[in-house]
């Protein structure tokens, strides 16, 4: 590599602006978030008065918070499980070319490419307590009497299921696309060798294909976890955290407390609980990247 004297300052000159930008607008707020969590800041006050672990204590004691943490974990894990299953099945169906595949791909990608808020509003209309099309179909099939159908967003368990459903709906396209890339990366001779060795469909899938796709699978899962765990938009628009905090998640609670409730400090404290999960995910991603580099 030619390390010429001219290059020595050129490199830093070229990447320092980006790094400075990120340090200023990500690094500094990150530090501020920690500071706020230990202060009594509110919207409208200035300056930072540290109050120790006061915020954390009150947050941890609040039942809303405990519900929010539980929901965040439950929503994320159940959505991911469903998404992995569905995206694998869908990727297998999309693998080989067929007539109309481009159009099918376009439709399948819509949930992911449309803005989060807009897709969610679409679902809000579909799940509306009075005018839901699902309700209409179930009534028409005589599963429910008219006006006796459940309120999809109004009953706690159904509301939770609806939130998970919308997250899955959004993530399946993204995951499928990554799975497809993973599948096409498997050299075609390997499943052929497995077929000759005597493996049937299921054995080839579970003992050959999926293990070989593990790096890409991991990337899809880790990104999926981040997208669901740190999202507040779906909850905010679909249920606003209700009914009775049953669909509140860490990010949506942080917003409700910090911005809507003007209590910046408590909001910051709540949002800091995202950090352990983010650190864990970052660590796992680095492990995956390192392991595949060795290959």
């Amino acid at each position: 590599m030619s390390a010429r004297s001219g290059d020595r300052w050129l490199g830093p000159a070229m990447f320092l602006p980006a790094i400075a930008y990120i340090l200023a607008l990500v690094g500094v707020p990150l530090v501020l978030a920690v500071l706020y969590a230990f202060s009594d800041a509110r919207i409208g006050t200035s300056g930072i008065h540290l109050v120790g672990f006061e915020n954390f204590r009150s947050v941890l004691e609040s039942p809303s918070f405990r519900k929010a943490i539980r929901n965040s974990i439950v929503f994320t894990l159940s959505a991911q499980a469903i998404v992995i299953l569905c995206s694998n099945v869908l990727a297998m169906a999309l693998e080989k070319p067929f007539r109309g595949r481009g159009l099918v791909r376009f439709v399948i990608l819509l949930p992911w490419v449309a803005p989060v808020s807009l897709g969610t509003i679409g679902w809000k209309w579909i799940l509306d307590s009075i005018y839901s099309v699902i309700t209409w179909v179930l009534v028409a099939l005589h599963v429910y009497k008219p006006y006796a159908a459940p309120m999809w967003l109004g009953e706690p368990r159904l509301a939770m299921a609806s939130v998970v459903l919308v997250h899955c709906w959004r993530l399946i396209p993204f995951s499928t696309v990554i799975m497809l890339a993973g599948r096409t990366a498997i050299p075609k001779e390997i499943p052929e060798a497995a077929a000759i060795d005597g493996a049937g469909f299921w054995r080839t899938l579970f003992q050959i294909n999926l293990p070989m796709m593990t790096p890409i699978l991991s990337v899809a899962v880790l990104f999926g976890i981040i997208f669901t765990f740190t999202d507040m938009t779906v909850v905010y628009i679909l249920t606003a955290g209700g009914p009775f905090d049953s669909t509140q998640t860490l990010p949506s609670l942080a917003f409700a407390t910090g911005i809507a409730g003007s209590d910046l400090a408590a909001g910051a404290a709540i949002s800091l609980f995202l950090v352990p999960v983010l650190v864990g995910v970052a660590y796992l991603m680095l492990r995956v990247a390192h392991r595949t580099e060795v290959v």
Partner: protein
């Protein structure tokens, strides 16, 4: 050990075009090492893949051990295949790679270790059982692929250019090992290659293919000394057979039979005077390039191959007395390329 037979096997990939394999009928002998030889695009790999069950024939039949397997999946055919890239399962250890066919065929677990160690021992890779494929050299990977193939004791081995991924030096020793291995286990083997040296060295018989058709089937000596047409004649042998045309007939003679007249003992030799152009010194032999001087073939390019023990020096543009033994001249029909005499 079983006989593989194809009957009028044809594979057409795109309707209206010439098939990749056209009406191929052949049969192996029991325990035979049969080589499919041909240039790329000749259909040899497609033929092999049809026998393996990885491609479905457009028409025709395939029989293994007398059983019609044309509609059977690969796992039902009791064959084993070694791919050009070896296709080892990268996430499994060598032991598990070799054991995989046993698992897939539901061989009882307690027999696995014994069989794997037997196969590994046969190929000298017993020490590598705990490694992963990415930690192995090319030659070692090839042996793992062979061990995986042999562990099921299949009826037929199918090998798709297994030596082409090895360095040239390794290739010769690997070739010898492969030959000995096959003789030891005695399994009927079909071997695909484009390298005629491999085909001649290893094959009991060679099937020479071009554009999806079989041009000639025979022992190495038969296809080399008595080629059926000009394609076979020029594909085998390096440098290829000299072909000169005149009067509706193509006359062929191999460079090693085209020698300075004095070197030939036989009085029945056909004289051909040779105008020398340039030569290549290859160590053990010398390749002489030039043109024929007289008669019906005057001006045609010719190549002679003489041992380096022949010390004679040749001057550019000088003409010399060369000759070919009468029995070594092959005559081909100019229109079809098929051998007449």
């Amino acid at each position: 050990m079983a006989v593989v037979e194809t009957r009028s096997l044809t594979k057409v990939f795109k309707e209206g075009t010439l098939g990749a394999v056209n009406d191929v009928s052949l049969a192996t002998g029991e325990g035979e090492f049969l080589v499919f030889l041909g240039p790329s695009g000749s259909g040899k790999t497609t033929l092999l893949r049809m026998i393996a069950g990885l491609e479905t024939p457009t028409s025709g039949a395939i029989l293994i051990g007398g059983r019609d397997v044309t509609n059977l999946s690969p796992r039902e055919r009791r064959i084993a295949m070694v791919f050009q890239s070896y296709a080892l399962y990268p996430h499994l250890s060598v032991y598990n790679n070799i054991a995989f066919p046993l698992k897939a065929q539901k061989v009882p677990r307690d027999q696995h270790r014994k069989k794997v160690e037997w196969a590994a021992g046969l190929l000298g890779i017993g020490a590598l059982l705990d490694r992963k494929p990415r930690e192995l050299s090319g030659g070692e990977r090839q042996r793992v692929a062979l061990a995986r193939a042999i562990v099921r004791e299949p009826a037929v081995f199918l090998l798709d250019e297994p030596l082409s991924n090895l360095d040239a030096k390794l290739r010769t020793s690997a070739r010898a090992e492969l030959e000995q291995f096959q003789k030891r286990v005695g399994t009927t083997t079909i071997y695909v290659t484009h390298d005629q040296v491999e085909a001649m060295a290893m094959g009991d018989r060679v099937v020479v293919m071009d554009k999806g058709r079989v041009r000639q089937t025979g022992t190495p000596a038969e296809v080399y000394d008595e080629p059926a047409d000009t394609f076979v004649a020029t594909f085998l042998g390096s440098p290829p057979m000299n072909l000169v045309s005149g009067g509706g007939t193509i006359t062929g003679f191999r460079p090693e039979h085209f020698l300075p007249a004095l070197a030939l003992a036989d009085p029945g030799s056909v004289p051909m005077r040779f105008t020398f152009s340039h030569e290549e010194y290859l160590g053990a032999e010398r390749i002489l390039y030039g043109t024929l001087a007289d008669g019906a073939f005057a001006g045609s390019k010719a190549v002679s191959r003489i041992a380096s023990t022949h010390a004679g020096r040749f001057a550019k543009d000088s003409t010399y007395d060369f000759a070919v033994e009468k029995g070594r001249l092959k005559l081909f029909d100019a229109a079809t390329g098929i051998r007449k005499a």
